[in-house]
C-alpha cells in the first residue's frame, strides 16, 4: 500500500527505455520515502518480463497479460490500472510522456480524480506548508516542469489527492541498474474479471511502425554542427554529447552539403525551423540562412574558433575554442555534475 508505481510501456516485447528510466527514478524516490517500488506491465505474451525490471529495483511487478491489451488502446488499459490503483492506493505513479503515457495518464488521473503533471523534467521529495489552510505536508512529490513554451519552470504539487501522478519524457531521467541480483515478486492481474465489453470499442485496424526517425523539430535540446566540425567522424562527438543530454543532432546546410550529416537534420531556412530550449552550435559561423531556423531558441551556446563569428551575436554563451576540445569537456563535466 502507498508505494511508488511505474506504469511501464512495452515496446516490441521489451520494457521501453523511458519506463526503465522512471524505474531508476522511482527506486530513488521509494528509498527516500522508505516504501516499495512497484512496476505495472500490461500487454500480451509478457512471459518473463519481470526479469527486465528486477535489476532496476522492482519489489513487485504487476503483470496483466491478455491479448485484449495488445496493441495498446486507452480504455482497457485504463480500466485495469484504475482497478489496481483503487486497491493498492499508490502515493506516486509515474509514466513516460510518450504518446502512450500522454494518452493513458490523463484518462487514469481523471477517473481517479487525482491530478497529473505532464512532461516533468525533475522529480523531488519535499515538504509543503499551506498557510491559508494551516496545514503542513511532509514528503510531497515536487513535480517540476517547464511551462509557457519553456519560459518558466513551475513546481507543481498535489497535496491532497493520490496518487501523485506525473509523466516524464524519454531521456530526461537516467537509466541505471540498481542491483543486478535484486529480486522482487510477480503479482498477476486477473484481467478477465476487470474488462467489460465497453472497454473494447476502439479497434486498431492497422499499425505501421518505423525505426526511430530523426525528430529535431520536437527536441528540447539540439546539438548542431556546421562545416567547422571538420568531418563526418568528428560529428560522432556531437552524437555523443546529444546522447548524454537527451538531445537531437542538427546540422547547418554547409555540413549537410559536405556530407557530414543527413539531409533530414538540416536546420535553417531550407531545412527545419527549431525552437528548442537549448541550442548548442558547434563550428557554425551563423549565416542568416542558418540563424533564421534557430534564432528563437531559448538559449544558444556557440562554440567557434573565431571570436568574431556572427553566431556569437545571437548566442547567450560564446565559447572561443576548438569543437574537438570543447565538446568532450562538456560531456565530461555534464556527467560529473549529474552523478
Amino acid at each position: 500500500m502507498n508505494n511508488v508505481f511505474v506504469i511501464c510501456e512495452v515496446d516490441e516485447g521489451k520494457i521501453a527505455d523511458v519506463s526503465l528510466e522512471l524505474m531508476t527514478k522511482g527506486r530513488s524516490l521509494a528509498n527516500q520515502l522508505k516504501c516499495k517500488l512497484e512496476a505495472l506491465v500490461l500487454g500480451h505474451n509478457l512471459k518473463g518480463i519481470e526479469k527486465e525490471l528486477y535489476p532496476y529495483g522492482a519489489d513487485v511487478v504487476h503483470i496483466g497479460d491478455d491479448e485484449r491489451l495488445d496493441p495498446y488502446t486507452t480504455l482497457p488499459h485504463t480500466s485495469v490500472i484504475v482497478d489496481l490503483f483503487k486497491k493498492e492506493e499508490p502515493q506516486i505513479a509515474l509514466l513516460g510522456a510518450s504518446t502512450f503515457g500522454r494518452d493513458l495518464g490523463p484518462r487514469v488521473s481523471s477517473a481517479l480524480q487525482s491530478g497529473l503533471t505532464a512532461d516533468c523534467t525533475s522529480l523531488e521529495i519535499g515538504p509543503h506548508e499551506d498557510k491559508k489552510a494551516g496545514k503542513t505536508y511532509e514528503d510531497l512529490l515536487y513535480q517540476i516542469r517547464p511551462a509557457f513554451g519553456g519560459n518558466i519552470v513551475a513546481t507543481i504539487i498535489n497535496p491532497d489527492c493520490r496518487p501523485q501522478m506525473a509523466t516524464v519524457r524519454e531521456g530526461v531521467m537516467k537509466k541505471e541498474i540498481y542491483d543486478a541480483t535484486y529480486k522482487g515478486k510477480v503479482s498477476k492481474i486477473e484481467v478477465d474479471k476487470i474488462l467489460k465489453p465497453e472497454d473494447l470499442v476502439v479497434n486498431v485496424i492497422e499499425r505501421h511502425m518505423e525505426k526511430s526517425k530523426v525528430n529535431i523539430k520536437n527536441s528540447s535540446i539540439i546539438v548542431s554542427g556546421g562545416y567547422g566540425v571538420g568531418s563526418k567522424e568528428n560529428f560522432n562527438m556531437l552524437y555523443e554529447l546529444a546522447e548524454v543530454l537527451g538531445a537531437e543532432v542538427g546540422a547547418s546546410r554547409a555540413a549537410v552539403d559536405a556530407g557530414y550529416a543527413e539531409h533530414e537534420r538540416q536546420i535553417g531556412q531550407t531545412g527545419v525551423t527549431v525552437r528548442p530550449k537549448l541550442y548548442i552550435a558547434c563550428g557554425i559561423s551563423g549565416q542568416i540562412q542558418h540563424t533564421a531556423g534557430m534564432e528563437e531558441s531559448s538559449m544558444i551556446i556557440a562554440i567557434n574558433n573565431d571570436p568574431n563569428a556572427p553566431i556569437n551575436k545571437i548566442a547567450d554563451y560564446a565559447i572561443t575554442g576548438d569543437v574537438g576540445e570543447v565538446v568532450p569537456k562538456l560531456i565530461k563535466f555534464y556527467k560529473q555534475n549529474t552523478k
Partner: protein, 317 residues
C-alpha cells in the same frame, strides 16, 4: 398578430422540411463540437514577456487561437465538407475576450459558438477545466463528435481532451492526424505516434485530439467574415458604444452564447482552485535575457561552471 406568427413559423417549418427532403441521398450530418482555447502566444516571446520578478507578463503576449485547436477545427470543417448537414460548434472556456477565437472560428466555417466564462473557473488545473467543459457539453444537444487540439501551447499538457472524454464516459483517440471517414456511427482515424502511424476505428459519439502534423486550418472566408463580423456575446453587446445597433433579433446567428457557472449543472467543489488537485508551489523564470554573449574559453573550470549553471536552471539534466 399572434396568429400570424404561428402561421409564419409553420411556413418556416414547412420550408425547412422541403429543403431537407430536396437531396434524395440521405445526408450524414454530424453534430461536431470543437474545443478551443485562447492562449498567449508563447512562441513569440519578446523581451517584456517576463516581469522583473520572474512571472509571466500575460499582457505583453498576444492572445491567439491555440494552434492545434486550429488543426482540430480544420478536421471538423473537412467533415462538414464531406457530410452535408454537419454543424460545427466551438466551445471555449476563458475570459470574455476569448469570444475572439469563436469569431475566428465562425470566419472559417464554424456555425456557432459557446463561451463558458465565470470567475468560478479561475485557477482551474486540467482536471477542473475538463470537469467544467464536460458539464457544458452535457447541456448541449446530441453530440456526435468532440474534436480538440492535442494540447495548448501555454501548458503543453495534452490532458484536457482525454479527461473530457473520461468525464463524459466517451472513448478517445489522441494524436489524430486525419479523420478518414465518419459513417454509420463509426469514425476511422489515422494517428501519428512517435515512431509510426496507426489507423483506429471508434464508435460515435467520441472524442478525438488532433496533432500539429495534421493539415493546417484554412484561412478566413471573406463572405463569412462579412456575415459574422458583428457576432457578439451578450456581455460584449452590453459593453458596446451607445450607437451600437443590436442585430441579433433579426440575425440570431450573430449571438455567441455565453454561459456562466449558473447556466450549467456543476458541483462547485470540482471547479476552479478547489476542484484542482494540482497546485503551483513555485514559478521560476529560466530565460536568460543576456544582452551580450557571455564569453568563455575552453578552460576546465569555465566548462565545469557552465554545466553547473545549465543544470541548476533546469536547461539540461
Amino acid at each position: 398578430m399572434v396568429k400570424r406568427r404561428i402561421v409564419n413559423s409553420l411556413i418556416l417549418i414547412y420550408l425547412s422540411t422541403v429543403n431537407n427532403s430536396l437531396p434524395k441521398i440521405e445526408t450524414m450530418g454530424l453534430n461536431v463540437i470543437v474545443l478551443a482555447k485562447q492562449v498567449p502566444d508563447t512562441r513569440n516571446v519578446g523581451k517584456d514577456a517576463m516581469k522583473a520578478d520572474g512571472t509571466v507578463n500575460r499582457a505583453a503576449l498576444p492572445a491567439i487561437f491555440n494552434p492545434e485547436d486550429l488543426n482540430a477545427l480544420e478536421q471538423a470543417l473537412r467533415l462538414k465538407d464531406k457530410y452535408p448537414g454537419t454543424t460545427i460548434t466551438i466551445l471555449t472556456m476563458g475570459p470574455g475576450r476569448a469570444a475572439d477565437i469563436i469569431r475566428e472560428g465562425l470566419y472559417r466555417g464554424a456555425d456557432n459558438g459557446y463561451l463558458l466564462t465565470d470567475r468560478a473557473f479561475a485557477g482551474s488545473d486540467t482536471l477542473a477545466t475538463s470537469y467544467a467543459l464536460s458539464c457544458a457539453l452535457k447541456k448541449m444537444s446530441k453530440i456526435d463528435l468532440i474534436i480538440a487540439g492535442r494540447q495548448a501551447i501555454d501548458g503543453d499538457t495534452a490532458q484536457v481532451g482525454p479527461q473530457v472524454a473520461e468525464k463524459l464516459g466517451l472513448p478517445q483517440v489522441t494524436y489524430a492526424e486525419e479523420v478518414l471517414s465518419a459513417e454509420t456511427g463509426k469514425i476511422t482515424i489515422r494517428r501519428r505516434l512517435e515512431r509510426g502511424v496507426e489507423t483506429v476505428e471508434m464508435p460515435l459519439p467520441g472524442v478525438i485530439t488532433v496533432n500539429a502534423s495534421a493539415p493546417e486550418c484554412r484561412p478566413r472566408n471573406a463572405k463569412l467574415l462579412m456575415k459574422f463580423k458583428h457576432a457578439r456575446t451578450i456581455t460584449e453587446r452590453q459593453n458596446e458604444a451607445e450607437d451600437y445597433i443590436d442585430l441579433t433579433a433579426d440575425r440570431p446567428y450573430l449571438n455567441i452564447e455565453e454561459w456562466s457557472v449558473n447556466d450549467i449543472e456543476t458541483d462547485m467543489n470540482w471547479l476552479g482552485l478547489s476542484g484542482s488537485p494540482t497546485k503551483v508551489k513555485k514559478i521560476e523564470n529560466v530565460v536568460f535575457q543576456a544582452k551580450e554573449a557571455k564569453r568563455l574559453t575552453p578552460a576546465d573550470e569555465e566548462m565545469d561552471e557552465l554545466m553547473k549553471e545549465l543544470i541548476a536552471n533546469h536547461t539540461i539534466g
